[in-house]
Point group: C2
Chain length 143, copies 2
DNA sequence: CCATCAATTGAAATTGGTTTTCAATTTAAC
DNA sequence: GTTAAATTGAAAACCAATTTCAATTGATGG
């Protein structure tokens, strides 16, 4: 995870921004935690150990993470913005259980490939995409 | 489009709701307009001909449309909720231009098929899905 | 046709997530 | 250290969406 911290520090200095105690704390907690954290979730976790940290700072810092490329913004339709730590792995998509809220990651290069084809057919250049499948997970189906 | 109006009327009476002047007006405008209208867009269009119609009524009525099945909710990440008139056609997905905001529909049964496979592999039962590809459309690429 | 009563409406207030403001504080550079 | 610019936290502002509420309208049964 050290490389992520490095990446963030470089981003800050490149942008003429400052490295602060709060930003370090938030980054540590962000990298430690589950992925698919909502801003609220992260804020609450942070508050336990660091009562002083403000709501606004968490929002601002998460936004920096996504600008810097160490986090990606997700939006699953429950008016909460979520940030997911970017991995070095392949891009992945999500299965989302409507019953229990579970979020399952998957990746399928064949789907990606077909997307490229579709885009090409429309003279469209892909920058990013998202695929979300909503339904019921195995656990919820059998109880 | 008469069948959509029929469908809505039946929905209303089934639910013990009433058919009103406003609901008729909003439905007419909704069916006439472009798809992918934001609530705001529709409200503004309506105001031109019907100054009396309230914001809340448009919100409430669009929600009814989606409950009734004649509209689908879309969310493209610009904090605006959009409603799309459901067609009898196949499910479709979207290419969204980050430069000009153009929304291009497409459908690809091969992608749908692969999604089914992925879900099956995870013991997951699909209820719905959405696939959005962001990038730059042909027009914006060549200017 | 009309009385009745529940549903609907529009305006305004409220909500909930997010962003901005601002004075005080902290950081990086000199 | 001094200094200038960035950052912080609390509170206020924001904005789409929802809810409240009194007045109005639509459907139903007499």
């Amino acid at each position: 995870m050290g490389e992520k911290k490095q990446q963030f520090r470089e981003f800050l200095s490149r942008q003429g921004l400052k490295s602060t105690r709060q930003r370090e704390i938030i980054l540590d907690e962000f990298l430690r935690g589950d992925s698919h954290l909502s801003t609220e979730d992260l804020y609450l976790k942070l508050r336990k150990k660091n009562p002083g940290i403000g709501y606004a700072t968490v929002y601002r810092t998460l936004k920096l993470f996504s600008e810097c490329g160490i986090a990606e913004v997700r939006n699953f339709g429950d008016g909460q913005t979520r940030y997911e730590s970017t991995t070095c792995e392949e891009h992945h998509d999500h299965l989302i259980c409507k019953a229990c809220g579970a979020i399952i990651e998957f990746e399928d290069p064949r789907i990606e490939e077909l997307q490229e084809q579709v885009a090409k057919d429309h003279g469209f250049a892909i920058v990013s995409h998202r695929l979300e499948i909503f339904g019921h997970c195995a656990k919820c189906l059998y109880k």
